[in-house]
Symmetry: C2
Subunit: 725 residues, 2 copies
């Protein structure tokens, strides 16, 4: 009956929202570009003072998009018809650049504009012909579009706009989504349906979704999209596919978004008919140069390549006894004349049975510092293992001063409950960005490494592995939209707080109801730590299910590689648990600066959230709480699962405030998350108990299933699994 | 620039349709349940006379859905608030059954209702307490829901409702969609995205889409859904998946939709741990009985199984030297106590190098007539080969009087341009349903075989292989929705004309503008014949691309089986082209009644649309047009391609009448269809020319590419390809 009731609620919600054009129910498709009627009368009146019209003097594809988006937003938010004109009638909003607008050229904005570069913008309230108006201006058209979206965001979030004076420019040059999308439309580690790219019907058929994807990215400043999986297929570089890519590039161009592709290093052999892909071979160089020149005939502003080489079985320069710089520079040289770049991933580990995985990227790349071409970025994951719920920052940050390092975050929740768990990732991103590398003394944060300020690099980038699919709401979980949003906002301005970003997103996406905004913010800000607790507390990591990575699998062992197992990472035994990475262990900690080492090296002082990352700790070890390690571990797991129940209660207070369809969606998802949190808790506690030989602390409910039950679970069709090829 | 312009048009369309609740653009998600404001004032006033309210005296899950849908429709179509109550206030619409409504019980409807059975309905205008009102009644709740949707359709299509008196009941008992959906969400021969069934998040997460899928089906009388691929995976029969299936069944139940699954014949071995799947083996029987009893504990109204056995490598009873009846009856026996049925597919052909594929189903099944259990339907494709653009009706229709035969149509356009070509399939369905088998003399149409009237079978069914995926508009091509719609309407009433069904769909989905309705109807009714002309004119068949079936491949030969090639079917040589299936050839024609044989047996009298299906014809043969066969073949191919251009011109007249988003979608799709029609034309004419050794008739433009170019095209990632396993 639960089900019937929920169905009726959805219907009722639909029935109650009859519009003049159509019957409509909210499905999340609009993302944060949701221009529903504002409710606060005072705010609406304040805004209406500026809705006499939109003035755009000279049109261009990008400026037209800005005007149309502004009209769309004002008409939706204020429920009033908004006209536009190419002359100033008095009042309203003037958009444009000094070169396209005589009015804007006549205003004294040049100093402000100087600071905003090619993508920044200036928004000011001023008077023209003695009439009050708002001016959105920039040096380039794309800046005007970014400024327009920023202004719309102010309205959506009900900010005061009197005397507004905003100057903004991005801290990072390349703000990019990486789509791990395959040509058959499966998405590696994708949990929101399948690929947006309908390759079969491209280039002839342009899905409205491509346009709305571009709108969403432009609204948060994302200016690049790598369309294909890092585990690349060379077919994407063949003529038929390049024509399809060009069609997407044509859609994205006016939104300021460049397309990038992944380059399969062995492409010269696979589609070029060569016998080698040796980066120093003249024929190989010639093939890539010709291929890259060809790409630019289809896509004049092609962005460049992301490359995963000599990693997890992918081909690379090491197959020919060359190093990563040899490979990257060969591609960079061919891209340079077109202003293209190479984003060469540092996520590598040797195929031989390795030493500590955490050390390998550093070992391979640090020696190459200074040997990369000017248009190469080395793309480094936030942590040294692989997108775990919590990792320390990657030791390469701060360790390659002569090389611009690009940040790679993962939005798709490969290790964080897929698209089923509510986990707001901005706190994870910020934890890494704000971490201090001490590379040049205190304040040498990862953010300053990435934004180039620490070593004065002008080539900078942040990439997010996309969590976007063809689910109607784009990301599967309505709240996962916030992680896409956060990536864009933080790449533009890494100093924004998780809280600010969350509040913007909540107001634009759900509601401006103050009490509910507060509740939602509280849920979101707590969610990542909650997930750490029920999955991998105290520094545990990489204990998930085999291959699909769904659910707990601390018992995983005896796989082709030790570092593909769980036992390798948690090292649990009768004495204790944890991976000793200090000077007495794998020495991974020694890859960091002495100041950082000092924080983690001693068992006594090591912050407990990283305890088992750096130390192998006796079960009886006394924790700060006074509990033994074993008791503390259990309490954290139980606390994590309990916190999801709290999240559930918080969400229930939004009934009737957020639309019924998304209310039901999230309610169902949180209850699945609660069941899966208990699953993680029980499976891990029961498994680790086989080593600790201790009881679950009294007062904590006993697991209702046996360890063998949890170990017996199989998920042959879990989504997002690596394709076979 | 084309692209920019089209993007702006879409935006403008969005900007101009501002509603009181939200900014909205039409994406086809609403299908034919589109309740936009009606435009004809007179009609609206006529309808408003009945909007005083909806009276539902006693609630039930299904009756509540009827009331909510009616409210939703009235409020949308008439843009007026519609209230409901459980007592008659005077006027309005009364819905219910005699047993749930005192008012309805009090009306003299019992005679009318008697004729409507368990699913039919009666809609009448009458007076209650001397107040005019409309009564929608039925014997069962589901009939009320069907009647409500029928009434809504009358409003959507602007029919007069004064003195309305409609009595309707379905001609076919089981009206079913077959989803060839795999558990990894790929869809075999699916071209509209991926599977609707998000198995990973079931049973906990109920997608709104499941509800809207059920609404759409109920609105056209579809009462069953086979959720999984006929190339079945036994995992669907395991407990975790049965719980997921049960969750879908719970959603569908109040809409009168039963769920069915495909049974992999070897399941007892694969998931049951038995050493055999021999249908006569006691352990195998016991296993299936236990499994089926288990299914009913989760899904008390489970519908039963569709089975593909001993076909294209699928396991079946013949692996154990048993026949199809042995296999079907074993399952039927276990299903019978639960009122479940078996739909056993007749699409079989031996694994040995065969004789004429067209003959094999008949050869295997006719001898089994009379040996199937009472709850078994034999499911027969409309034609003897495989869903070609045109085939004669299947010889089994009329040949198995003691066995209820179920029709299998294909909605997904495996051989008809995927989801890119506009092909309205009702004329194809009707051509088959109206064909006369002469099994019991003139008038023994296929429809009368299928509806049971010819041999007095009460167990009847029509299945459509679904063209539905997770594309936002469900079917990829907006017009492909009409094929889903047509299957439901024709399964309810096979005597409806293609034209009537098209007009209903057009008015509900696009517009009531009379001129445009006429244009759209003309496009749709012509579309199937147009496709036949540019793909397989004059009875040609099975000459498409290898494996993916995309595009032309008349040159396909040297494959594992002769009947998996094209040359096997067109038999082109220096002398002529076509497959002699007469008494002097494969004798396939002899499987039909003498009256049918007479129509096709002589080269002179054979209708030209089946000429090359039944005869091998010399290139110089004089056709009715006076042209030689070669010239006629060329002209048909060119005529087909030209007709697509005409379709393009017709569609262009709807600019500004249909919403901009769908206008752009269809415009792009028709131009792709035009390019692909020319591709088909050129590839086939150039290929057949290598045999005819004749010029393309003067006046017809020469192909711009060589035959070898067309033969060189490859499509490694064409959608819908069979999974490897």
């Amino acid at each position: 009956m639960i089900l019937y009731r929920s169905m009726f609620r959805v219907f009722l919600a639909i029935a109650l929202c009859v519009s003049t054009t159509t019957v409509y129910s909210e499905d999340g498709y609009q993302l944060w570009l949701r221009y529903n009627k504002l409710t606060d009368a005072a705010t609406i009146n304040q805004y209406k003072a500026y809705t006499q019209g939109i003035v755009l003097e000279k049109e261009s594809p990008t400026l037209l998009l800005a005007r149309q988006e502004l009209q769309l937003a004002l008409q939706g938010l204020l429920q009033t018809k908004v006209t536009f004109s190419n002359t100033f009638q008095g009042g309203g909003i003037i958009i444009g650049t000094p070169s396209s607008s005589g009015i804007i050229a006549s205003l004294a904005l040049s100093d402000k504009l100087k600071a905003t570069g090619d993508e920044g913008f200036v928004i000011v309230q001023t008077r023209v012909k003695n009439k009050p108006c708002i001016v959105i201006s920039a040096n380039k058209d794309i800046g005007v579009l970014y400024g327009t979206f920023h202004f719309i965001r102010l309205l959506q979030t009900q900010q005061r706009i009197e005397n507004i004076a905003i100057t903004s420019a991005p801290a990072i040059k390349h703000r990019i989504l990486n789509h791990w999308d395959n040509l058959d439309r499966t998405v590696e580690r994708g949990y929101a349906g399948f690929s947006l790219w309908d390759w079969h019907r491209l280039p002839g058929y342009i899905d409205q979704r491509y346009i709305d994807y571009a709108r969403a990215n432009a609204s948060i400043g994302i200016n690049g999209a790598v369309l294909t999986n890092v585990n690349a297929n060379a077919q994407i570089l063949t003529e038929p596919y390049l024509k399809k890519v060009a069609a997407l590039a044509n859609v994205f161009r006016p939104y300021g978004i460049k397309v990038y592709l992944t380059a399969r290093f062995s492409a010269p052999v696979e589609i070029g008919g060569l016998s080698t892909a040796d980066p120093l071979d003249a024929n190989v160089k010639a093939w890539w140069k010709k291929k890259i020149d060809e790409i630019y005939t289809y896509i004049p502003d092609f962005g460049g390549f992301t490359v995963k080489a000599n990693s997890e079985g992918q081909p690379g320069p090491q197959n020919y006894n060359r190093n990563h710089a040899d490979g990257a520079n060969m591609l960079a040289e061919a891209l340079a004349p077109h202003n293209g770049i190479v984003m060469w991933r540092a996520f590598v580990y040797s195929n031989e049975v390795p030493e500590d995985r955490a050390k390998q990227a550093y070992n391979e790349f640090k020696p190459l510092d200074g040997s990369f071409a000017k248009n190469v970025l080395v793309q480094v994951k936030n942590g040294p293992i692989d997108f775990q719920p919590r990792e320390p920052f990657h030791p390469l940050f701060g360790a390659m001063p002569k090389t611009p390092l690009m940040m790679e975050f993962q939005l798709t929740q490969e290790y964080l409950g897929f698209a089923t768990h509510l986990v707001y990732l901005a706190p994870l991103f910020k934890e890494c960005l704000d971490a201090d590398t001490y590379a040049k003394g205190k304040g040498s944060t990862v953010a300053h490494v990435v934004d180039g300020s620490l070593e004065n690099h002008s080539l900078t980038g942040i990439a997010g592995v996309a969590n976007i699919g063809n689910d109607r709401n784009w990301t599967g979980h309505p709240f996962a939209q916030a992680n896409w949003y956060a990536l864009g906002r933080l790449a533009w301005n890494p100093s924004l707080s998780s809280e600010t970003v969350a509040e913007e997103w909540i107001r634009a996406t759900f509601t401006n109801n103050e009490k509910s905004v507060h509740t939602l913010k509280d849920m979101m800000l707590a969610s990542r730590e909650v997930t750490v607790q029920y999955m991998t507390p105290l520094g545990l990591h990489h204990i998930m299910g085999w291959n699909h990575h769904y659910g707990p699998g601390p018992w995983i062992k005896d796989k082709p590689r030790a570092d593909w197992t769980s036992v390798y990472y948690h090292q649990a035994d009768e004495n204790g648990i944890g991976f000793n990475r200090t000077a007495t262990g794998s020495k991974a900690l020694l890859q960091y600066t002495p100041e950082v080492q000092k924080i983690y090296s001693s068992l006594e002082n090591c912050p407990e959230e990283y305890l088992l990352w750096y130390h192998h700790v006796p079960w009886n070890y006394k924790m700060k709480s006074g509990r033994t390690l074993w008791d503390e571990l259990c309490h954290r797991y139980y606390q994590g699962a309990d916190s999801v129940r709290r999240m559930q209660q918080q969400w229930s207070t939004l009934k009737g405030i957020v639309d019924e369809e998304r209310f039901q969606q999230v309610s169902s998802l949180i209850s699945i998350q609660h069941q899966e949190a208990i699953w993680w808790r029980n499976a891990c506690v029961l498994y680790f108990q086989t080593f600790s030989k201790k009881d679950i602390p009294s007062g904590l409910e006993k697991p209702d299933q046996s360890l063998s039950y949890y170990q017996s679970l199989e998920f042959p069709f879990a989504p997002g699994i690596k394709p076979k090829w």
